[in-house]
């Protein structure tokens, strides 16, 4: 941290956070390598690729999918994963008739173990305020247009559950392996603001 490049003058918040770190370390409450370990975990390991692995497995393995929808926490544990925040995991499935969207109107609850840390817009006031009253309008800003007959289900994380959307498997992916499918699945598709597009070149 100390020999970090700072092209702009350091913000007050940054100096305050460094003061906090110095104090916690100097008092022996934690060690700097514990902080490093957590930061590195979120930067390298705990990200939307975890969720994508769950989605791809559910696409190729109907039994796993059934277990995933019945008990998300137990099913993702089969892959060595955890929702990471919140006690229970509810996986909600997009179909031709139903589109799911997750939000936390009161703060920023998010299935961090599967999707990593939330994007800035997920924590911003516009998304939090609008997702429950005008989700179609929000989806439209992400380029997702849904016909009226598709039911929109919005899941507001007000307590200890966390949600992940299981997107629809796109057309043109019959010949793909599970690993290839993982590459198709974006963070935003598991929040529910976009669909998973068919791979380039697919019919």
């Amino acid at each position: 941290m100390s020999n970090h490049h700072r092209p702009e003058p350091e913000s007050y918040a940054s100096m305050r956070a460094r003061a906090l770190e110095a104090l916690l370390v100097e008092k022996g409450i934690i060690t700097t390598d514990s902080i490093d370990a957590v930061v590195q975990a979120y930067e390298d390991d705990i990200g939307p690729r975890n969720g994508a692995r769950v989605v791809a497995r559910a696409w190729v393995d109907p039994q796993f999918k059934a277990r995933l929808l019945a008990d998300g926490r137990a099913a993702v544990a089969e892959l060595g994963l955890a929702s990471g925040q919140g006690a229970e995991l509810l996986v909600v499935e997009n179909t031709a008739d139903t589109h799911n969207l997750i939000v936390c109107t009161l703060c920023s609850c998010y299935p961090a173990g599967l999707l990593g840390l939330p994007p800035k817009w997920y924590k911003d006031f516009a998304y939090r305020s609008r997702a429950v009253i005008e989700p179609r309008s929000v989806l439209s800003e992400f380029g997702t247009e849904l016909p009226d007959q598709v039911q929109v289900r919005v899941w507001d994380s007000t307590a200890e559950l966390r949600y992940m959307v299981l997107p629809e498997r796109p057309a043109g992916t019959d010949g793909l392996s599970e690993d290839e499918l993982v590459e198709l699945v974006s963070r935003d598709s598991m929040i529910g603001v976009v669909k998973v597009p068919s791979p380039a070149g697919a019919a």
Binding site: S2, R16, I29, S83, C107, W121, A131, I133, E141, V152
Partner: protein
């Protein structure tokens, strides 16, 4: 605190959502360090927050301040506030340390090692808390009509304004959790079951709701009372072109 600006579901006036392409996990280095030290301290067992305590602090910073303060700065403020409150250090200590860094921003910070603790902190990230053991039978069952109570007391709660007084259907009976409400003692047993309750968009937003919308919330038992489902709250009413069955979720 209830009824403060953090309870913003259904408000207008915050502008458009601004999507961003996948980028760095932390936009600024200090955000990552803060996240890391917060997790490390909690996982070390040296900071035991009661449920909702951190959120409660963020909610009492004042409505104008809340809207002016970016997420990680709110998080920084509440983290320091709670650590002071729990005696990890004093306000004077953090203020003095900040002043010292402002006076000499280039001075190196201490670095310490404890590989075992670091490995434990890393490993603990996957250990989410389990629900509390059940201590009785849930009052409501899936499929039952319930109304969210109209509670307006001050102090932290987890019952959004937009759903108070509205009638919905219990979608799912979840585990038992300590109720994160400053008035929990008035809301029955603790811990208590949390229900996922689905509400029709028109029940919440009236005739101008977007078509074919359902909103689901997790609500502690004490936030609910039994209800009859009125016409507006009825799921799958005939005005919806193709209401999907409830079975799958």
């Amino acid at each position: 605190m209830s009824n403060t600006i953090h309870d913003m579901g259904g408000m207008h006036g915050f502008g458009p959502v601004e999507p961003e392409p996948p980028g760095p996990v932390f936009h600024e280095a200090w955000e990552g360090r803060l996240w890391g030290m917060r997790q490390a301290v909690i996982r070390s067992g040296k900071l035991k927050l009661r449920p909702g305590e951190n959120r409660g602090i963020i909610e009492t910073m004042g409505n104008a301040a809340y809207l002016q303060t970016p997420y990680f700065e709110r998080f920084l403020r509440s983290t320091i506030d709670r650590m002071v409150a729990h005696g990890l250090f004093t306000q004077a200590e953090i203020d003095a340390r900040t002043a010292a860094i402002q006076a000499d921003p280039a001075a190196p910070l201490p670095r310490t090692q404890d590989p075992e603790a670091a490995a434990a902190a890393r490993a603990s990230l996957a250990n989410a808390p389990w629900p509390k053991p059940a201590s009785g039978e849930p009052v409501f069952e899936a499929g039952q009509a319930v109304r969210a109570r109209n509670l307006n007391w001050e102090g932290h709660n987890r019952l959004p304004r937009y759903v108070r007084g509205r009638t919905g259907i219990v979608e799912r009976v979840n585990g038992w959790y300590v109720i994160e409400d400053d008035h929990a003692e008035r809301l029955g047993r603790n811990p208590q079951p949390v229900y996922t309750v689905g509400f029709d968009g028109r029940e919440i937003w009236g005739p101008d709701a977007e078509p074919n919308l359902r909103v689901y919330l997790e609500l502690w038992e004490g936030y609910l009372e039994p209800a009859e489902l009125g016409a507006e709250a009825a799921f799958g009413a005939e005005t919806e072109p193709a209401a999907a069955p409830e079975a799958n979720s």
